[in-house]
């Protein structure tokens, strides 16, 4: 990661690159190729019907080494910067890939790395990269919105190790994970613990989210874990959660960008075909201008992706706030674009059968999972240092 610090000490983000490098362009092309060839509507439909996951596809990702692109080299991955992961996610968003690269690998992976005990969990990371293991970050609790500090899940340390009790609610991807990364309150502090899915005392109520992801409510009853289940101790837990949430927020933006792009394309196609009052919908001036506004939103949102990457790779004190700000701008746009896309499709747009409705649901889920535009704007407002997210001056 290239983190440059200018002489005024300001940026705290990596170099701001406006395009992709040669390697990145090749990587992007190969992702596009694979998805176009192997990830069609039919395969997705089958996966949807089978709990939202296609193990063969996941294995394919691992074999291509793409899961490793999300981890830095010293840990066995080959990720150079945030760019590879964002490229992957953008293309996944465009192709509406169900499989939880972000939720099962990147987000918990970021927490592991920032938790400071990654060395102790080398086998787990190897397993993630090999596609043999999957994690889910269990942080959200009943009656609490976006509250990152655990309260309803506790961990007590005694001679046996850790004993976990409590509940988590609406945990995305939990049914797919062999191990849950659980935030718990430990006395005055918080910790992150690795809880095997099948540990005695763990129970799940499983269900599906609006975009076809498996999810669950979790209950922990006297779940006993060894000492080395610790992924982030009290002194690193907040940092680990921030890293995870930053990746969730940012990665979801990349997916939303891909989804917006596809949504615009679908809408252009539909309005260019559908006839009303004796002409194509796209012949109406009002429709044309709406499509132009959607294209503008997309252009402006895509332009922020390099900035997001630079902040993800950076070490600025207000990194979380900067990511939140960019997220606010992108998810706000994405929400408008997919809503307009549905509107321009008319009745067909709200049916399950129409591809556009899947984009709408996906973008909605990407916003809900990691904080709305307004919530992120407020996070930016309160946490930013300086008034220029680009930090060029």
């Amino acid at each position: 990661m290239t983190v440059r610090s200018m002489d005024n000490g300001m940026p705290g983000r990596a170099e701001l690159r406006l395009g992709l490098g040669e390697d990145e362009l090749q990587f992007k092309a190969s992702v596009e190729r694979l998805l176009a060839r192997d990830y069609g509507v039919e395969r997705r439909r089958v996966a949807l019907a089978n709990g939202g996951f296609d193990p063969d596809f996941w294995q394919q990702l691992a074999e291509l080494g793409w899961l490793g692109a999300c981890f830095p080299e010293p840990l066995g991955g080959y990720g150079q910067s945030a760019n590879e992961a964002l490229i992957l996610l953008e293309q996944f968003g465009r192709a509406l890939v169900l499989e939880p690269l972000l939720g099962a690998v990147l987000v918990p992976g970021a927490a592991l790395l920032a938790g400071g005990r990654a060395d102790a969990h080398g086998a787990l990371i190897d397993g993630l990269i090999a596609g043999e293991r999957r994690l889910a970050l269990a942080w959200s609790e009943q009656g609490r919105r976006g509250a990152r500090r655990p309260r309803l899940t506790s961990a007590v340390r005694d001679q046996r190790g850790w004993c976990v009790n409590g509940v988590k609610q609406t945990v995305l991807n939990a049914p797919l994970a062999d191990t849950l990364l659980v935030s718990a309150i430990a006395g005055e502090d918080s910790v992150l613990l690795l809880v095997p899915h099948d540990a005695p005392g763990v129970s799940l109520i499983e269900y599906t989210t609006i975009d076809g992801q498996p999810a669950a409510d979790l209950r922990f009853t006297n779940v006993v874990l060894p000492d080395d289940a610790l992924a982030a101790g009290p002194e690193r837990c907040e940092r680990a959660m921030d890293a995870a949430m930053n990746w969730g927020a940012a990665g979801a933006c990349a997916e939303a960008l891909g989804a917006m792009d596809a949504a615009l394309e679908l809408t252009l196609e539909y309005t260019g075909t559908r006839q009303q009052f004796g002409q194509k919908l796209s012949g109406f001036q009002v429709i044309q201008h709406r499509l132009a506004a959607m294209a503008t939103e997309l252009e402006y949102s895509q332009a922020l992706l390099p900035l997001l990457a630079a902040h993800l790779d950076g070490n600025g004190a207000d990194r979380s706030a900067q990511i939140a700000g960019i997220r606010a701008r992108i998810v706000g746009s994405a929400r408008c674009v997919v809503a307009d896309a549905v509107q321009l499709h008319g009745g067909i747009g709200v049916t399950d059968e129409a591809a556009i409705s899947h984009y709408f649901r996906r973008v909605t889920a990407l916003e809900q999972a990691w904080g709305s535009a307004r919530q992120n704007l407020e996070r930016y407002r309160q946490g930013r240092q300086g008034y220029d997210p680009l930090r060029l001056q």
Partner: protein, 392 residues
């Protein structure tokens, strides 16, 4: 100089409120409150209860079993029902075809159909849109050819809500293809059990089944089931649309939504304490409260003929803004729920997972993308305002 808070109206409001509190079965109330889609049985049962009070069709003339309430009073009634978490009755009989039947129907049609609508026992649906006649409704192609005392109907309707429940469908059909698009249309009442009628579900993005395609293949319909005159169907269709010009404003719904929002906010906490103390969320609520107030005042002005715009234009305005309010309010539920908004509502589930009420709320959020589309898209409504309000 109409006032909306006269003692008479306030007393009426309390009367309705007490009635709902006393008569609405608790189980139905809880289902409505959780945002579940209203079942056929709940609609039927609640309509029957209202009917016993003489209140199932307040907007009908007393001669047909309605009331003499003013439009303002009827709106107050609808609002109180919604605020008491009563389910909305099926509109197709009570609000759409009922008034057409008692205004243009034959004596026989009135006797045959009105009672079942009034007491909630008979369900109707509306056969208007077709695959290539959506916004451009008048290009519809479903044909009805006269053969002696019957029509033979062939064609397809789409977006037919509640067709899976319905005993009857009122249909716009083409009886003459020679003149202008509007001039050859007739309105037929068709029994859904007639051979040749097929209903195919359309699943909407909330994974629920409200709407359908309805296919007609050589369906024989008695000529007695024609409304009014042949080829005059466009006129009845317009009457039907304009008859309830404020129904499309979703005011009772929006007020119910606002209560739902307040309940949700009261039940959750955010990162820095109770959500009710979150200034950013509160600011979004404040904005919507004022928007709702403007919407409500506009509707009352329309109902009392105090509005500025001609009524056709005003109806389009409140349709657009009512739809926007419904969409914005349900977005705010999402804002409140965060990740907890995401579980998919499974019809028939007892909601044992996720945040209470969340799945129903999300289901509403998803289906409400349609409110700016059906009954004339926002784009069509803007054109109506331009034409009929501004004479462009």
């Amino acid at each position: 100089m109409d006032a909306i808070d006269t003692p008479r109206i306030q007393a009426f409001r309390r009367e309705v409120r007490d009635f709902v509190a006393g008569q609405l079965p608790e189980a139905i109330k809880q289902r409505t409150r959780q945002g579940f889609h209203v079942s056929k049985e709940d609609m039927r049962d609640w309509t029957a209860i209202l009917h016993r009070q003489g209140w199932s069709a307040p907007h009908w003339p007393t001669a047909y079993g309605g009331t003499d309430w003013s439009p303002l009073q009827r709106m107050v009634f609808d609002i109180e029902l919604a605020l008491g978490w009563a389910p909305a009755p099926s509109p197709f009989g009570l609000h759409l075809i009922g008034p057409v039947i008692y205004t243009f129907g034959t004596e026989q049609q009135k006797q045959r159909y009105l009672p079942g609508i009034l007491d909630g026992s008979q369900f109707w649906c509306q056969g208007y849109s077709e695959p290539n006649a959506g916004s451009d409704l008048a290009s519809l192609r479903t044909s009805a050819r006269r053969h002696g005392d019957r029509y033979i109907v062939n064609g397809q309707k789409i977006w037919t809500s509640q067709a899976q429940y319905a005993d009857m469908i009122f249909c716009l059909v083409r009886t003459d293809g020679s003149g202008s698009k509007q001039s050859g249309i007739s309105m037929l009442l068709i029994d859904m059990n007639t051979p040749g009628v097929t209903v195919r579900p359309i699943i909407t993005q909330d994974m629920s089944h409200y709407v359908n395609e309805v296919f007609f293949e050589d369906v024989e319909v008695p000529a007695d089931n024609l409304i009014g005159e042949e080829n005059a169907g466009w006129r009845y269709a317009k009457f039907l649309l304009e008859n309830e010009r404020t129904a499309s404003a979703y005011l009772p719904q929006a007020k119910q939504d606002m209560n739902r929002l307040r309940e949700m906010i009261g039940a959750l906490e955010g990162e820095h304490g109770p959500l009710s103390e979150d200034p950013v969320l509160d600011s979004q609520c404040a904005e919507l409260e004022l928007e709702l107030a403007a919407h409500e005042m506009t509707i009352y002005r329309i109902l009392t003929d105090n509005a500025r715009s001609p009524s056709a234009a005003a109806a389009s305005m409140i349709k657009i803004r009512g739809a926007r309010l419904q969409q914005r309010l349900s977005s705010l539920w999402n804002e409140v729920l965060g990740v907890h908004a995401l579980p998919l509502f499974t019809p028939g589930a007892d909601s044992s997972y996720g945040e209470p009420g969340a799945a129903g709320a999300m289901s509403q959020f998803l289906i409400r993308r349609a409110v700016s589309i059906y009954g004339g898209t926002n784009e069509i409504q803007h054109s109506i305002i331009a034409k009929r309000g501004l004479h462009l």
